[in-house]
Symmetry: C2
Subunit: 186 residues, 2 copies
């Protein structure tokens, strides 16, 4: 059996980049083929179900990323403030300081939303839930923790939208800094 030109993980990574930049509808097979160096037909070897299959694999990867870089650090034994700082550092890297869009945000907007509603909901809820649990450990009551977690995720997603729409990542970077200081009450 011939060796793949690039490893499967690399294919997934490049497809991820195209989807985050262009959204579901804008991620055409032509663009994806160009980004991966594969022919259009070869993409069906990796993703037999076509574009919908691709998006689901990317959502798998995102769910796994969240588990590894958000849920796990937030479930540690360090002080809540440090755990949250860890999460923020990972998010800053994922979003490249605000330059890179969020897959969840791009899929939540437009027609693709209805295709992936359940999965988007599940991943957002895991993110919010993990954050809320940590905030409760830091002393917030259940409702405040939940609300603050929801608000935090919204602020991050909004700062990314603003970065895309205005070409200015400063609000995102400032947010990451502020959250490290202010998310956990003294």
């Amino acid at each position: 059996m011939p060796a793949p030109l690039i490893p499967k993980q690399e294919v997934v990574d490049r497809v991820m980049t195209v989807f985050r930049q262009h959204g579901f509808e804008g991620a055409t097979l032509s663009r994806i083929a160009a980004a991966t160096g594969l022919g259009k037909a070869s993409l069906y070897h990796y993703f037999p179900g076509g574009k919908e299959d691709m998006a689901n694999v990317l959502l798998d990867a995102t769910a796994a990323w969240m588990e590894l870089h958000v849920t796990k650090p937030l479930s540690g034994t360090a002080p809540p403030r440090e755990r949250i700082a860890g999460m923020l550092k990972e998010l800053d890297a994922l979003y490249d300081g605000g330059d890179a869009a969020c897959l969840l945000g791009t899929l939540a907007v437009g027609t693709s939303r209805s295709l992936f509603k359940k999965r988007l909901q599940a991943i957002f809820d895991e993110w919010i839930g993990a954050l809320a649990r940590t905030l409760m450990e830091a002393g917030l009551d259940r409702r405040s923790a939940r609300e603050r977690a929801e608000d935090t995720v919204a602020r991050i997603e909004g700062a990314l939208i603003l970065a895309q729409g205005r070409g200015d990542t400063a609000p995102f970077r400032r947010l990451i800094r502020q959250l490290a200081d202010e998310l956990v009450p003294d």
Copy 2:
């Protein structure tokens, strides 16, 4: 000359709904024709430049809406807190309590971003600028006012993304309430 089936403003409104729900790429001529009750060819009577023309008309409408419902109320003589409450009430109506997406947000995501970058930037900046000026009148220094205005717009956009992605408008509605109370320092 035959009378139009529906007034031009009504056509624009319905096209707006399609773009906000489906995004630029998802707003196909078929969908737009169905939503307006016009044939595809008839749409070129209203928008000779096709889809890009449509999006620009919608951005015109959005800029005008901002001028009327954000900049103008924020430039009034009432106490800053009341002016901001006025803006928030209008935004709550525009976004239908969180159920309706933001045109700016949908255009800022995906491939359409590059087509409309300048205009998105201009409208976001007008919104942020008007809010920052009011916050300065309320006593904030220039930089704090600016940062708080940017953060506020980001929170609103993010809450809308979250509403779309999770099917839960509670964070958006809570945000509107909170901002009325907390945006202007006592």
